[in-house]
């Protein structure tokens, strides 16, 4: 029971002091505002992100030694970009998980009634998931480099940029899923898990698909993540094969545009 019952000073009178000048908000400022909001809890509790750093390191430490070693560190060279793409897939698909709490508590509703654009809301929330991804990538690369990973900073930077549209699109889909499943939290997790693992396995992140049967290869070819992972592998190795990178970028953009389109439509129907 709250005891702080001092009568507040006249709010209406106080409301007069600052003349409220509302200007139109540009798209970038709109996204920036959402991103800043989403980052505040992270900045105030960095430990929450540090914990998430462990997962890719577990994969790196427990899985990479199983890969056939060709003697020149190429197993790591092959595996690290895949782990980065996997981390992007995981964190982007979790974007909606935090939304469930905001839907229940009411803060999501307040944002929906505010002038913030639906698309800005989703892009801002999805970009927030990119921040731990960047930190995770730095850690993974820092850990892998002494073990024979060939470091190409320029390629890694382009590779990270290539992941942005993919993460935003998948994040928007995850948010749309959270809105659609707001009355049953288990629906969100069931769908998320059902979608994530086939995408991951079919993209050849953990095992190469070279010897796979035809149907598996076809399924892999229509998986956008396959093309993104291939582009990441080339870029992380310091090469820039135009066609591979272009296919990766197209796959990433398709996910981005499609995800945002579905997400905005779903949120406009949000009730």
């Amino acid at each position: 029971m709250s005891i702080s019952l001092t009568t507040p000073a006249a709010p209406a009178a106080a409301a007069r002091r600052t003349p409220v000048v509302a200007r139109p908000v540009g798209v970038l400022a709109d996204i920036g505002n959402v991103l800043v909001r989403e980052l505040q809890p992270v900045l105030r509790q960095p430990a929450s992100v540090l914990f998430a750093m462990v997962q890719p390191l577990v994969f790196l430490g427990l899985f990479a030694p199983l890969l056939p070693d060709t003697g020149d560190g190429s197993a790591l060279q092959w595996f690290v970009p895949g782990i980065v793409a996997m981390t992007a897939l995981m964190s982007a698909s979790f974007t909606g998980a935090n939304l469930s709490e905001e839907i229940v508590s009411g803060s999501f509703e307040r944002l929906l009634v505010s002038p913030v654009r639906r698309s800005s809301l989703m892009i801002g929330k999805a970009l927030r998931e990119m921040v731990p991804l960047v930190l995770q990538t730095i850690i993974i690369v820092a850990v892998a480099t002494p073990f024979g990973f060939d470091l190409h900073v320029g390629g890694i930077l382009v590779g990270m940029a290539l992941l942005v549209p993919f993460s935003v699109g998948l994040g928007a889909l995850s948010l749309a899923l959270a809105v659609a499943a707001k009355e049953q939290a288990w629906v969100f997790w069931t769908v998320q898990q059902t979608v994530i693992f086939p995408l991951l396995l079919l993209a050849g992140v953990l095992l190469p698909l070279d010897g796979a049967p035809g149907w598996l290869r076809t399924a892999s070819d229509v998986n956008p993540l396959t093309h993104i992972v291939e582009a990441e592998r080339a870029l992380f190795a310091g090469s820039f094969p135009g066609e591979t990178v272009l296919y990766g970028a197209i796959a990433s953009l398709v996910v981005g545009v499609l995800g945002l389109w579905v997400g905005v439509r779903r949120m406009n129907r949000a009730s």
């Binding site: 709250s2 409301a15 002091r17 409220v20 000048v21 200007r23 139109p24 307040r110 002038p115 009730s271």
Partner: protein, 333 residues
């Protein structure tokens, strides 16, 4: 800032209707609402849970689209001009406006920036609101750690950040303890009186609608069943004057005289006469003198003014109080 000098209503609904489909069942939550609210009004939607109050508010604030009919808020259509509606209104929903893992100060800032305030204006405005709502010392704690009353004040602060010309409050005092409820009502009243803010709130607290709103719109089963000031709604029903006499015979004789009061409904019950009349409290003294002169002196008199519950009971045959199982402050702590 936009200057809504358009004459006429700031809120207008025409045949506003919303159905929900649950399985094979269609629920008609709001049925053909025709409503006008003028600038500067303080309006309460009163009705039991499930009457359609919140659904109406959610349509007016662009959260859900009407099934049919239309509505304009601040001159903008709630379906076609959602962005313009959102810029013109403040909204305090049933839940908490501030995310629980965020901090109050950050959330007010975010809302101010969303409405296009410059960074320095937003900071100043945030400080003002924190001070005005007595939240300054709690501003840098996670919202999850605040009490129910503190969170509710934060909700209202966030709703007021851009000094909206129109403010919607959905069940603002649910879950508040009585004193916080009175404080909130005082703030709402001042906002309306000092800044001329048009305020629409929903409530199922009779006392709240009665004490606060200049205009009470009683809603039941998705339809408006009464729309007037609380005083007018009650006076239409009339006061109850209960008179006691020395004997049942005296009561019968007195009832015959009392029946001459214009518009009075008279019931005799043993040695008691109950009389309901539009201005019962004004006619009662004269009646008592008259009855004494006629040889049937009144031994005891009680005058009870009607409540909004009597109004609701008279309109629907049901009492609103039966629905008020949550009058305690349980949810606040």
């Amino acid at each position: 800032m936009e200057n809504n000098t358009t004459h006429g209503p700031v809120i207008r609904t025409v045949g506003l209707t919303r159905h929900f489909t649950r399985g094979k069942q269609t629920i008609e939550a709001v049925r053909g609402l025709d409503l006008e609210v003028a600038a500067g009004e303080l309006v309460a939607f009163l009705g039991p849970n499930g009457a359609g109050k919140s659904t109406t508010l959610r349509m007016l604030t662009t959260l859900i689209a009407p099934t049919s009919g239309s509505a304009t808020v601040a001159g903008h259509d709630v379906v076609r001009e959602r962005a313009a509606v959102r810029r013109s209104i403040g909204y305090v929903g049933q839940g908490n406006a501030a995310g629980h893992q965020f901090r109050g100060r950050d959330e007010i800032m975010c809302q101010a920036r969303a409405h296009g305030l410059s960074r320095s204006d937003a900071r100043r405005r945030t400080d003002e609101l924190l001070e005005a709502f007595d939240l300054a010392e709690h501003a840098d704690r996670p919202v999850a750690q605040l009490s129910g009353g503190q969170r509710r004040r934060l909700d209202v602060a966030i709703g007021l950040v851009q000094e909206p010309p129109i403010l919607f409050l959905d069940e603002p005092s649910t879950g508040l303890d009585p004193q916080n409820r009175v404080n909130l009502q005082e703030q709402v009243r001042r906002l309306n009186a000092d800044l001329g803010t048009t305020i629409v709130l929903t409530t199922h607290y009779l006392e709240e609608a009665d004490a606060l709103a200049g205009r009470v719109i009683v809603i039941d089963h998705g339809e408006v069943i009464a729309d007037d000031s609380a005083a007018a709604l009650k006076s239409a029903l009339g006061d109850l004057v209960a008179l006691s006499f020395a004997s049942p015979d005296a009561a019968v004789a007195a009832a015959a005289r009392a029946d001459r009061v214009p518009g009075a409904q008279v019931v005799v019950d043993g040695a008691r006469v109950e009389l309901r009349a539009a201005h019962g409290r004004d006619t009662a003294p004269g009646l008592v003198t008259d009855l004494a002169a006629a040889g049937t002196p009144v031994t005891r008199i009680e005058v009870v003014g009607p409540t909004l519950d009597d109004v609701f009971l008279n309109l629907t045959g049901r009492s609103l109080r039966e629905n008020q199982s949550t009058t305690t402050e349980g949810a606040a702590a």
